[in-house]
């Protein structure tokens, strides 16, 4: 076994890197793969909370790098899904505590034991990003359909390309089909036009993401919801399966008023 190492990144904060990492990692574990999700956001760790494993964290990956503990001691095994592990970040350290070479070495140490290693990258383009990206072969870039997020994604894609990562694939997160239909939100194709990279999935805006974060349970583990479906599809595509994009319009819930509005504006014809 030699793991594929994938960094999840975005440039801009708050677009759903950590949520995406947790859900895709859980989905791949559900499909029978052995997966470790590494929280590379030293000093601002959150992957443990999103995965609902915060109470079981003892050591972190800086402890492993500094040889305070063994790798096996730092790995937190998720008891809900076989084959899913978390390697937490240190909360009381800063991003300078690691360098890219150490990240590469850490990934190499884990590669033989896993099918997938996910590196959940901090926001920004500084040291934390460079550390996380150094260890990875592939990248998932997360963006939302908003100018600031797409702009930052463009920056990050340029940097990942110059680092030789391949493939670099895009997740469009928090898309609202209603607003796209009404011409008030950038559509999937608008974003792909300007970024010109491969799309691996579109995740619709979904209140269940907040519920699952509250509950500390990635939604791909149990929930049947639009965003969970989208993340399961992304996991399948990572495995090389040809899964068609979800019909997001069927998730567009419309009220009476917006139907009339669409009728009058001539957008309702289809």
């Amino acid at each position: 076994m030699s793991a594929r190492v994938i960094v999840t990144t975005s440039g801009k904060g708050g677009v759903g890197k950590t949520t995406s990492t947790a859900n895709i990692a859980a989905a791949l574990a559900k499909f029978g793969k052995k997966v470790v999700a590494v929280d590379a956001d030293v000093g601002l760790r959150n992957l443990d909370v999103i995965m609902g494993l915060e109470n079981r964290v003892v050591y972190n990956f800086i402890d492993v790098i500094e040889k305070t503990c063994k790798l096996s001691q730092a790995l937190v095994k998720d008891k809900r899904v076989p084959g899913l592990y978390l390697l937490p970040a240190a909360q009381t350290r800063t991003k300078d505590a690691v360098n890219p070479e150490q990240m590469v070495a850490l990934c190499e140490e884990m590669k033989p034991d896993f099918d997938f290693i996910f590196l959940d990258c901090p926001a920004g383009i500084e040291g934390g990003f460079k550390n996380a990206a150094a260890g990875a072969d592939e990248a998932l870039v997360v963006t939302t359909p908003e100018i600031p997020a797409v702009r930052d994604a463009d920056r990050i894609i340029g940097m990942l390309e110059s680092m030789g990562k391949s493939p670099i694939r895009l997740i469009i997160n928090r898309l609202r089909p209603n607003m796209v239909q009404d011409g008030d939100m950038l559509a999937k194709d608008d974003i792909l036009d300007v970024l010109s990279i491969d799309l691996i999935g579109v995740v619709p805006e979904d209140e269940n993401v907040i519920r699952s974060t509250n509950n500390g349970e990635p939604m791909t583990m149990t929930l049947d919801s639009p965003a969970a479906h989208a993340y399961l599809n992304i996991a399948e595509r990572i495995l090389g399966r040809d899964v068609p994009l979800m019909d997001l319009e069927s998730y567009a819930t419309r009220g009476f008023l917006s139907k009339i509005k669409r009728f009058f504006s001539g957008k309702g014809k289809r």
Binding site: M179, D182, D184, D190, V194, L257, S265
Partner: protein, 92 residues
């Protein structure tokens, strides 16, 4: 009808996504051509080297710069030629 349109929030324009698309494109054009002075200098030197093979150019009056306007970015070069090298023209 005007009243109805107003009531339902319909304008004759498209939604705001078109505006977002246009603004995004322009922002990215500018971001992607954010060239450092060092890079521009080495670009300038290489262009001059190539041109110098074919013609004598006035090194003192060369201007190479990026010109940003609202919708596009252009590489604008102003390179005064002193002579075309005769030998080169004959070879061609």
């Amino acid at each position: 009808m005007g009243f109805l349109s107003k009531f339902f929030g319909i304008s004759s324009e498209d939604g705001s996504s078109q505006k977002a698309k246009d603004r995004l494109k322009i922002v990215l054009i500018h971001d992607r051509t954010d060239i450092s002075p060092q890079l521009l200098e080495s670009l300038r030197n290489e262009i001059v080297d190539v041109l110098a093979k074919y013609m004598d150019i006035d090194m003192k009056k060369i201007e190479i710069d990026l010109d940003h306007d609202e919708n596009a970015v252009a590489l604008v070069a102003n390179i005064p030629i002193l002579h075309i090298k005769r030998g080169k023209v004959a070879e061609l």
